[in-house]
Symmetry: D2
Subunit: 363 residues, 4 copies
Amino acid sequence: MTGGRPVPMMKAAVFVEKGRIVLEDKPIPSPGPLDAVIRITTTTICGTDVHILKGEYPVARGLTIGHEPVGIIEKLGSAVEGFSEGQRVIAGAITPSGYSNACLCGQCSQDGPRSRHGFQAMGGWRFGNTIDGAQAEYLLVPDAMTNLAVIPDGLTDEQVLMCPDIMSTGFAGAEQGGVRIGDTVAIFAQGPIGLCATAGARLSGATRIITVDSIARRMEVSRRMGADEVVDFTACDPVERIMELTDGRGVDVAIEALGTARTFESCLRVLRPGGVLSSLGVYSGDLRIPLDAYAAGLGDHKIISGLCPGGKERMRRLMAVIDSGRIDLSEMVTHSFTLDQIEEAYDLFANQRDGVLKVALRP
Amino acid sequence: MTGGRPVPMMKAAVFVEKGRIVLEDKPIPSPGPLDAVIRITTTTICGTDVHILKGEYPVARGLTIGHEPVGIIEKLGSAVEGFSEGQRVIAGAITPSGYSNACLCGQCSQDGPRSRHGFQAMGGWRFGNTIDGAQAEYLLVPDAMTNLAVIPDGLTDEQVLMCPDIMSTGFAGAEQGGVRIGDTVAIFAQGPIGLCATAGARLSGATRIITVDSIARRMEVSRRMGADEVVDFTACDPVERIMELTDGRGVDVAIEALGTARTFESCLRVLRPGGVLSSLGVYSGDLRIPLDAYAAGLGDHKIISGLCPGGKERMRRLMAVIDSGRIDLSEMVTHSFTLDQIEEAYDLFANQRDGVLKVALRP
Amino acid sequence: MTGGRPVPMMKAAVFVEKGRIVLEDKPIPSPGPLDAVIRITTTTICGTDVHILKGEYPVARGLTIGHEPVGIIEKLGSAVEGFSEGQRVIAGAITPSGYSNACLCGQCSQDGPRSRHGFQAMGGWRFGNTIDGAQAEYLLVPDAMTNLAVIPDGLTDEQVLMCPDIMSTGFAGAEQGGVRIGDTVAIFAQGPIGLCATAGARLSGATRIITVDSIARRMEVSRRMGADEVVDFTACDPVERIMELTDGRGVDVAIEALGTARTFESCLRVLRPGGVLSSLGVYSGDLRIPLDAYAAGLGDHKIISGLCPGGKERMRRLMAVIDSGRIDLSEMVTHSFTLDQIEEAYDLFANQRDGVLKVALRP
Amino acid sequence: MTGGRPVPMMKAAVFVEKGRIVLEDKPIPSPGPLDAVIRITTTTICGTDVHILKGEYPVARGLTIGHEPVGIIEKLGSAVEGFSEGQRVIAGAITPSGYSNACLCGQCSQDGPRSRHGFQAMGGWRFGNTIDGAQAEYLLVPDAMTNLAVIPDGLTDEQVLMCPDIMSTGFAGAEQGGVRIGDTVAIFAQGPIGLCATAGARLSGATRIITVDSIARRMEVSRRMGADEVVDFTACDPVERIMELTDGRGVDVAIEALGTARTFESCLRVLRPGGVLSSLGVYSGDLRIPLDAYAAGLGDHKIISGLCPGGKERMRRLMAVIDSGRIDLSEMVTHSFTLDQIEEAYDLFANQRDGVLKVALRP
């Protein structure tokens, strides 16, 4: 970036102010010793990005948005070994360092700064939050040896596009809920994350999966992802309906995949004593635990919240699921845009028009 | 109970109405095929009994109160094997059947009725709740083969009096919190259950235990039970103080041992990301999960609630702890009464006079 | 069984001596207070029964053989509640009491006698081992409230015939191995238990399942149960082949489903460091842990052995799997006989003739 | 290492050939970008080093031996953040990268190379095995951000000298065995690792700890570390004795802390059904699992082997244990030498003369 040499530039979707994410020119990043720079071939928009757009989640003005990268290694940092330029890779939405105390406790998503505390809430979420993100032509991936995951031969960008966030988060809903063979599971909301939670519950051996939504397309996809019963919450009280479907027994695991106080509470109301509420949603207000549903604290309930697991081993496993053909998430990519059309893409996605589930963005 | 033969009678502390628990005459129970009748030698009063006395927790008029029995087997049901009359035994406050679906899932405290559902919130708590309890001369123990635990030779009634409830509940605070070697643990409230939680955290390897209370005697006992720091919540904000003591890191496990929305919330506020809130309290209103302390649902927090574990294997293990000399809970028995003095005992205990922790009641 | 009244009699397959299991007349059992008597509608023969027939596993002369009952409740013991005569039920091969210390630790299969020890190796296996078994017209089920599981409406005898043993054991192979989403799993031997282990691994989310056998029919069924690769051990060295298929990485979980020292050792040789050997086989000699495959004890390997889980909750869950349609094990029932043809059935099954997997026996 | 500038040199204990470890001059290492160089202030000799000396474990000629460093940061690699030169630190015997697939699975000790496999048996053990070790004036610590752990103020070198290996390994014996409140635990051999396993079992809540050794001093220290009973295997059959002490019940967890086939087998023979064999030893030959002790594979036994956990979070936790005063391992450092006396130190330690447990070596 010295003297006469012109700095190579790229396009990037940048947060300007509430209501405005626009495409701007930025310098192509150059990697520090532990980093990699990847050339993005496909990325997507997440509900969290819409929160940012609406000003509901604050990020720095000028930050590049996005945290779901698929690309090709363009340049590796001087200390990075085990990868080579030109490899097709993904990186998780969460990019843990690998060396924080949180990581060494197995809690990579709460990756702490390089200080004595070792933990920071959501500290592992860096792309499009604390550093520039993936809705750009190039992306700097920090701690590349921890985070780059090579795409198996034969998988397309679309096939792995859900791995960095949606699939990792949704599957975590089943995993942190401890879903096991023979369980009955309820999942509130069947947006992209809820649909992946449904798929994850099915893959984990749940034998009765009851999902809740009201949008026809999502309800259809829900069945294909593994739901045995799909409850339309506009047609009945979903809590009553689930209790009825389970003969009053309740469910073993309830997964919250929307992020509202109401669905959180509904999860508690359909849980059997000793059941697990697995919370995936990003909430925007305080939550309430109703005394009766919580059996005054004596019901042996567990409430487990989680942030999307990241790191290359997680990505390797998720791509192995795709590669095995056990599940096909490509129908969740309903629309495709070029990066130049990003404002249009945000408009479609934020307003959930045209049956959109997820969009593919291609620089 | 036939014809001319007079029914043998006993004294029992009976709930009459809000504010009145009195000693009455009742027939000595006779065991069904799976039951045992024990002659109570020592029992005690629990905070829950005070809730019943105050009318805050409804039970049937005429029910004998109490759920912490130490006694001698008087008579065994016809189908009971493996025990003999005259053995000194305890039974847990929670008396699971052993054969419900809940029991066979390892969730004995949520023991269900003999129906298809298999789970019932708090269903394992029967003594002094759904069947006659232990504040009496004799007690019928249901499912005796699951619930009778023989007292090791050499242990006194006082030494094992905490096992049925207080010790089992308090230790569960550490166990369900997953306390392990090297953890920092905070415990809110140092009544009898909180003190046992402190002892349980210490036994589980916690290396920093911070407790919160304000009563001088409890704070003293807290140190002897294992606290490294005792915070007086009347002298400072306990949340701030705990964050200060942990250099801003927070604790690995926070144990709620009081049963108020405020302490529940404080537990969340002192937890590190990825930490566990282990809830023991019996709440009397809705609980609130504050958005910030909960990191909007993204902090990998776990909230685990639990009801006192019961059953003979649990009791065997707790008595083994006492027998090993690892811990001595006998100083928690601060006062002693005969059963005849039960109203006096309730008065002292309910009003926490005279530094009372627990009382021994002897028929 | 008194005076002039003739004792009602039934047919039962009885062990007489090495090489002879014959149909004899025996009194129909009558239930003690905790028992139930069921009229067998379908049962089957297990590999363990063949060991008994060959004199390799000693049982008492005159014992009725068999531990896989499907039937109808004929008579309930006086203390049994929650069931009614005429209900269609199964009971697991393992019939835990529910009240032993082992049961209360969650280790029902090691159910101990009603003594102070509380554990007995294999103590939960009673049918056809320490009490009369299921290859008869009637069967006494001990501890009926713990062990009777009502068959969901609409399921046939054949559909649930694998639940009591084969399916419970095979699924436990995946469960005790901790198989999870994204795992690579190897399963040695694809007899009925190995096939169920394959199905269990698939249901648990394994994304690469490699099985080993040499019999064409079993290899075919293996693929239908979930195998991605089936290795014929007569055509190659299965250890080498598995290492090749995994690019030298090895598998996350290796399941032993035969019961030989050789396959046990092969499991260790295909495990990655940190992997789990899940052992299902019944061995007939000492096992060897080779120093190199075990990394001199420093490879973080886990070796988990297990005996078929029993009890009504286990049976409920397995029948829920069948009922959900996730899996269909009925093709494993390859032959059908009446109880009168039992000697013929043993001959076919013991000699693995005619592509037999499992037989249905109907009194 | 260029031209005219003389390379700074240091003393290091180097493996020359079977039977010869000698002090030699070597260049002081200089750190790569991710490394740190520490000036050793105290180190020690481990049983593994004696295996190397005797030629039983092959390492490269010329390699510096030793894997238990206490020192001061001399120089940090260019990419290392969060530490500063002059800080007092330790590093574990095992130095995981933090970014291998094994690390990201929580199996840091099986840290793999930077390749696609991601696992390598014992790959995390680098010091004195695959790279130069700690018996020297200076030590290069790889992946410094993962491995450097700052010593809390007020702790001496001797106090933390056991953390890098002996304490981490011994405590892992209790941890991987799942020792919990109320357990009975047997530990075979009370050398330094066995003694730490005893301390770890005590800290984890075991209420009955039975240890086995024959050396008087070790038997004494064993009691101080937490043993309730110490069995002298020269005076009785330790298996018989342990079964007698447990009234025939056997133990919940048996820890192997010697590394012989015989003690491994003894562990199995004292386990109750469903118990855990926690293996710490480094074996030098095949192991045998006896059919009877293993209940033919049907006893629900678990055999868990483990290599010393490393990484800075592990070290932080272990130092927190020391700092809390819960345990004092300093009496295990029985002798002190300068680095110059290393041959004398090896002679004493290898021949277990003069009641040696561990030696402190000071450059």
